[in-house]
Amino acid sequence: MTRERSAGPVGRVVATEQKPSTPHQFFFWAAVDAPVGIGAIVRVETEERTVHAVVTDGAAYADLQNAIHDVMATDGDPAALPAPSARTEIRLYLASVLRHEPPEPLQPVPLAPVWLASDVDVKVALRMDGYCDGERATGVPVGVYAAGGLEAPVLLDCDFLLGPEAAHLNISGVSGLATKTSAAEFLLASIFQKFPAHKGSIAAVCFNVKGPDLCFLDQPAELQDEDRRLYDRLGLIPEPFRSTHYYAPFKADGVNLNTLRTHESLTGSTEPLVWGLREILDFAEVVMNRDDVDAKADAFIDFLGERVVGRTFHDELLRHEPFEVQTFADLEEFFRAIFDFLESMGRGGEVWRTHHIATIRKVRNRLGNISTRAKGLVTDDGAANDLPWGAFEDRGLYVLDVAGIDPLAQDLVFARVVSKLREHLERRDLGVEHVVVFVDELNKYAPSDGPETYVRKMLLDLSERGRYLGLVLFSAQQFRSQVLRRVVGNAGTSLFGRMDSDELATPGYSTLSAATRSKLASLPKGELMLRHPHFTQPVFVRFPRPAVLTGREGVTRFPPTPDLPFADAVARQLKSLDRSIGVEAVRELLHDRREDDVRRALGATRRTRPDDVLAYFRTLLGRRVPSEAPAERRHAVRPVAMPEDPYL
């Protein structure tokens, strides 16, 4: 923070009765060639008072009294040569006050010279002096304020970005130009590097919901010198995330991962995300639409969760042998037994253990629907491969690639992961004390209108109460106006990239000046408008491109491989555990094996991670893997047709 401005003011405060100077804004004029623009931070200084402000609007006019005079002067010829003398022109700027020193008594801005801000001024103007210095500093770089040749680092206050004072970040802007994903990646990297030790540990969970956006955060990008210079200015190291953990569900075949990170050199670092019936049942509400959610369905799901799934359930009326429901297949068998029993009762056979057959059918239909639509995420064998609950690493980045799965399954993943994070953070046994959850396309998950969904309720709860737990939402969307107001309203920090002009015309942006809105509509890539609780006015910042590969670069450098044949895909999975395993050996081993058996053995091998992978796998193939579904293939559950149900 040493750079000093060259001597000399750039303007002077002016006040007239029509345009007076007030405690919150003032006008000043500047030379035509002064490096002042919208978003520039300026300082007004007298002996008694120093005022920092940001330029929010500007106007220029000359001493031309009437436009017709210009026509007259040129004889109506627009191509006439320019007049020999340039008219006297004024550049009049409106500045909104960021800070008064002293703060009391709060008085109108004095009529005094105006100076462009220096590094120190930017720090003071944005109140960063209150949290960027000292042993318990909490500043995290978000970019540089750049104006008039000055580049001053701008830091966010962790206490207000990640809790407990305020929390959450929301990013808005049009697709492709607003650099929303880049901004989130850069800020996460900055947090990981600068999150102060006295604040504890932190991890991030990112949901990749479209294309390859977040698929290559562990791969270094080739940065330009300008980007490196910005990193240096911000005191950051341009490097990819050091500890990344990728998770992706399988495709329907259960062996090929449903992700664009399938290049051979990357597959070893991508874990399958596989859940069983137990994991799904806890979040059955996610798959229910509003009409489904009633006390009866709730009661039956509770009954299943508490008495049936994962336990030994015995009912002589249904079957002599006890039920051991571990998988969807087991569950279907259980439902089938209930229906057989009720059918055998004839008239009056509509209720089983106080649960009406219609309720049972509805729950069966919804649960069965998941296993169909989320095939690959939901396993039939009951064995889950999940995030490392309880063992999250400090500065660990956990990316869940759910871009390729059904929206219903995405909702399910999102709901369960966030709920589990919350649960563990409440119990303080997650492994880290703070978790940032990054969700793109927030308008899809928490729309301002549309039905009340579990995910929307959960996001609202997260935005309103998450900061007390250390659970922080970083979200992004094209149109902020289309997101539930309470969710974005709870974001203490907001970033705005290039905006659509229709969006800027919505009431949410009415507090911005026309010039600021105009600047927002044409912001270049890498520049953002920033709101933060310490900043009394929005400021514009520039940030370097993230030091990781973008999705587009990633798929070019690491082109996804096509789905492999079953045996080859299994070989690749095993090879990720032991690189010495050859494809041919696996092919030979799988010859004439049933795919279900192979998948079960593969899952068990993956969970166990034995020293001799191939031998263990071979052993498992040779016998029935414990807690398996019945050997015979079951009939698919046909969902009940409910035309009004948007999920069908």
Binding site: S85, A86, T88
Partner: protein, 306 residues
Amino acid sequence: MFASRCNQLRKSLALRGLVAASGMPEAAGRQEEACVVPARLVEGSALAVREVGAPEAWPGPLAFLDGVQRSEVVAYAGTSPLIVAEVAAGIRLRTGRQLRTVEQERLLFIAGRAEALSLAAPALGSMPQFHIEDKGPLHPLRDLELARRLVDRVRGNLELSVYDRFRGSHDEWLVVDGSLSVSPALAADDRAVGVSKSHSALPFDGQDMERYLHLPAGFRSSMFMPGGERAPVVAWALRLWPFEGRDLLHGLVRIEMAPRQASPDRADEVSRWLLAERTPLSADARWDRLLYGIHSVEQHLKAGAR
């Protein structure tokens, strides 16, 4: 009703060969000073009008000199008025279309009869005092007129003062608001051009006056040497804007140059340069004759008034 009747009359009078007019332009000269001071033609034997050609940009940098003044009665000593005046003069130099002030000077003073000033002295501090010299009987209105002339003189002297300083370090062309003949130095300056908006004193009478005042836009009159006892200059009239439908004096300026510089070709050339200076228009009621550079000096001086 009145306006409509006037317009009807203008049309019918114009049809009869008269020159329609709609009002005397501002600051075209003090009516009480209106006179004819016969001039001597120095170009041809009879007053002629010549088209000067298309406007041409002034070559190189160009400076503009002007002065401003204001005055106010602040007290009477008996019946003798005391007048406070502020005068200022400045020069702005144009380079690359941009005007910037290179010289300026201001003076705040008090004017009155000697007796009145001595009575007021204890309250005047160090403020400069200028005496109104008059041996006639005291009349407040007469004193005010004398004070006005005094302020005019002081401003004129201030203009000459800034001119002297300017010429000490600059050799650019200089356009002066008003007559060059007020000073021998100015009148002899080879790179000075006087532009006078006032036509209180006309150089010709009779048919020549009509020819002089009916000069078409873009034309100049023959060169002449104005009469009177002031420093000798060569002058000609130039019409900057069409006057038809407005007034005979609309857009009419008198140009002055040092006699040794004056030639018909030079007069044409300077006239073309001045035609180019018509734009941009000055934001002023005198826009038809007030060059923007002069206007700029005036604005600068007024804005800096105490």
